[in-house]
Symmetry: C2
Subunit: 266 residues, 2 copies
């Protein structure tokens, strides 16, 4: 999916919402837990109920891998079920030496039909390039994450810059604003103005709104650019909005609230 | 597997060799490529031919994920086939926010029966802790990697220390010498003496010997401690020693050479 196609979706739906399918078999409603294809069935109902109000789905690979083969199968079915209009992100946080990263790129861009994958920067350029070589796909590099552990390394200073700033500056040169995005946590609102200065044209994938407590209003104000430039992800606050039989309806209501708020900022 | 059990294997076999099963369907011998279970069949023959001379196998998850469901199934069969005496490493380079890392730990320590997993440090302590909470398993954190990209961030200085040094010092406090190892690339021999000073009691997983060109002699001299403290991984130089029907025999010969050399250093 090109940037133009993505932003057309955003402006036609007045939404820059991404829904995170962190589907945990122990957290889905009881009436679905004994379903022979529980994870996919849950995802299918969530997608049907929310697709009109969001532009992207993010599959958190960990939750599928935890179930082994059955989980990998549910991931495959889910990515194939997501409408072609929606931007499909593998939240996989991969990254390894070049010949290995090339295999991960194959796994998520060819074997599975994702539009984008999240990757970790620690191992440097040759660990990221194999993803960027798929120029019709998107590589989403960890910049400044939403978790407490961001302070351990990402927010450590080297000279007068944080490690995450070095990562943004260095990695900007590896790809373009048409195939490289950054993960910036919504809980890091104080840094957003600075981050936008460092990377004025890149899209950000912003997790941390919802359960983690980031402010949609604040990050939208600080990070939005002419063609939007942000995808805000909500996972648990949407998919576990209810643990009863009404889970999909409740998810839809929450998603509509996000979409309405987003329409004000766009 | 405890440290004592691992080191008993090392001293009884006089080997600290780990074999990397980076099994690529396009690189295995032609006569196996049409086998209905080609990846597992290749791995099975490699394991049978090499198990007496090594103490560990490392499965590079990327190569299995690239094949989708079939690949995940081959990984499952392979890890179950590796003898219980051998230390089973998932080379997965995972790491995410806490509730997600907990799912990765479940995937590789419970659903699959690995003894260890490699993880990436960028996101900090809460991204690593869920792995370390499995106290009967091992977490192997990226320290200084073998690839060229190590210079981009790992070898960048913050004050008077490199990022990788900060990672080693900080992360040492998260686990113990009984459940935490570090990945240190063999191509970084200049740094090994310093690394051993920083982390005197930890085991290292050392890739980069073989195709990547690191010296077994040099890293053994600089990093070995009383109970060995290093696992040296070789992947491509072993498993692709021949691309004919004699691939397993040739792999066995190469592995015996490594074991003989290792017996001199132990």
């Amino acid at each position: 999916m090109t940037r133009k196609q993505l932003t057309e979706q955003i402006f036609s739906k007045k939404s820059y919402l991404c829904i995170g399918l962190d589907t945990d078999i122990t957290k889905i409603p009881k009436h679905l837990q004994s379903h022979p294809d529980a994870i996919f069935e849950f995802n299918r109902q969530i997608i049907d109920a929310t697709k009109d109000y969001c532009v992207s789905y993010k599959i958190n690979t960990a939750f599928y891998e935890a179930l082994g083969l059955k989980g990998w199968e549910a991931m495959e079915k889910t990515v194939n079920y997501i409408p072609a209009t929606h931007f499909k992100i593998a939240d996989a946080k991969r990254g390894d030496i070049g010949n290995t990263s090339a295999q991960y790129a194959k796994a998520f861009f060819e074997t599975l039909n994702f539009d984008a994958i999240t990757v970790a920067p620690y191992m440097g350029e040759d660990s990221i390039k194999p993803f960027l070589e798929h120029t019709d796909k998107w590589t989403i590099l960890l910049g400044l994450t939403s978790n407490a552990g961001a302070k351990d390394f990402e927010l450590q200073k080297s000279g007068d810059e944080y490690l995450y700033e070095k990562v943004l500056k260095t990695a900007s040169g590896w790809g373009t604003t048409d195939n490289l995005m950054f993960v910036i946590g919504a809980t890091q609102a104080d840094e957003f103005t600075n981050i936008r200065k460092l990377t004025p044209g890149h899209f950000y994938l912003v997790p941390g709104v919802g359960t983690q407590g980031g402010s949609l209003k604040e990050i939208s104000k600080k990070a939005m650019i002419d063609d939007c430039g942000i995808l805000v992800n909500v996972s648990r606050a949407v998919i576990y909005a209810s643990n009863g039989e009404d889970f999909a309806d409740e998810a839809s209501l929450i998603v509509q609230q996000y979409q309405e708020e987003m329409s004000l900022y766009l």
